[in-house]
Symmetry: C2
DNA sequence: CCCTGGGCTTTTGCATACGAAAGTCTGTAT
DNA sequence: ATACAGACTTTCGTATGCAAAAGCCCAGGG
């Protein structure tokens, strides 16, 4: 997923006809319809925001972004519209776009919303999952436990994400899945500095959750997921507080 | 709205006319930023979609919309971006925008999501509401019961919406409030043809809910709201089925 | 009769142009 | 030195222009 814009000036063809600049050559081009540039711009900007190149509060000048990505202002503007709706940037009339600067309260609210959405998805998943799905869940669980044993942090994060995503998918509720994906991405962004996996406890909870889903016990699955996500929320809160103390003391 | 009627005369910057500093010092400088056209276009299109002028599945030609609204294609395109993100239209690359055509499954999924979100908002509201808030809730409740007694359907719908909105506001979770607002608008659109209020039962449930909130009993408030929204969902489902039968039989 | 393909029309996607608003700087008067 | 007014600069918001993709129509062949 690394389609970063090259730092060098994109040798702008700029003679009359457009050339696809730094973007446009996505590794995933299996789609019949070539994705419009605005989509590539959107992807690039989300990436730049998440990886911190574009910092919260920063003013995004359309022309700069356009040149950085080797396109004109128009696709940038269209991407910004979407980014605003999804909460990544704020658009102030006649002033332009600013990378959204989340307050502490907002970040926590987002965690709360994610918690209830994931809890609901666990409930639905318990009602939907068949034996094959459950087998896949255990597979992911084993993978996570292996990563845990190996101290493989990246693997842990990735497996955790895939496990939750699979449960969401199992829910069979596409609207829910979309919302969770969006909220989750924002949560991860806000909490990037402290987003280490919780480790053993977390995976014990996962196992409990999978058992409930396997049993088709929606109430238990819901309860377990709720506890799980609320603990994650609590952990984040503690770590943020600790980080804040460190900052104020040092 | 077309403010480019006169021929362009490049060369004179003409930055002279500015209406700000000429007048004396007014102590109150109410700087009201004019909403961009794209906002007006967005509002207009949502209205046209909700009121059925633009029908589900219909192809929206940018130029037609632009002429209809008296603007150029550009603000229309930007509005369409937002409309897509919010689920009102589908944007197909190189084909344009189509008014979103919800499947039955999707509509029901939205009701499910709305249900959990509102349930969560009731839980939070119960933890947050003070005596004054509760008084306001009872006020709305009385207003609803009056409308019920008067067979005032519009008043019933409006008061119901305000009651739910107030509870959402009481939750103190802005992220949640935004999501609910969005989901709710789509739900109302989908179910417009059958969206009569449920009437008496519904308001009895409201009263029960308010009592729980007044008592600060978050668990009960949550439970009651969940039952309430799930019943609404069930009612919609029944009505849709009935309407579908009528259609197929006639 | 149905399928097919090549030109014509429509519509999108992107680029560019330009007026206007917001922000910035500078010189002057107090 | 400070505060303010006015120009200067930057950036936004919108309109317009143009090439390419998609859709359409109709003639010709299986």
């Amino acid at each position: 997923m690394n389609h970063n814009a090259s730092p060098a000036t994109p040798g702008s063809p700029s003679g009359r006809r457009r050339g696809r600049g730094a973007l446009g050559s996505s590794p995933v081009q299996r789609v019949q319809r070539p994705a419009p540039l605005r989509q590539a711009v959107y992807d690039a900007l989300v990436e730049l925001i998440i990886n911190g190149t574009l910092k919260p509060g920063q003013h995004l000048v359309e022309l700069e972004l356009a040149e950085l990505l080797g396109v004109s202002r128009q696709p940038v503007r269209e991407a910004l519209q979407r980014l605003q709706t999804e909460g990544w940037v704020d658009l102030r009339p006649a002033q332009g776009a600013f990378v959204h600067l989340p307050t502490e309260a907002e970040a926590d609210q987002l965690l709360g919303v994610r918690s209830v959405l994931e809890t609901y998805s666990a409930r639905l998943a318990a009602q939907q999952a068949d034996a094959q799905d459950v087998e896949r869940l255990w597979e992911l669980q084993r993978e996570g436990e292996r990563a845990l044993a190996d101290d493989d942090v990246d693997g842990l994060v990735s497996t955790n994400a895939r496990l939750h995503a699979f449960i969401t998918e199992l829910s069979g509720n596409a609207v829910l899945a979309e919302l969770i994906a969006l909220v989750d991405r924002r949560v991860r962004w806000y909490y990037t500095p402290i987003a280490r996996p919780r480790g053993h406890d977390s995976w014990a909870e996962h196992a409990e959750l999978i058992r409930a889903i396997a049993a088709g016990d929606a109430d238990t699955a819901s309860q377990v997921m709720n506890r799980h996500t609320e603990r994650t929320r609590q952990t984040y809160h503690e770590r943020r507080t600790a980080a804040g103390d460190e900052n104020t003391s040092g």
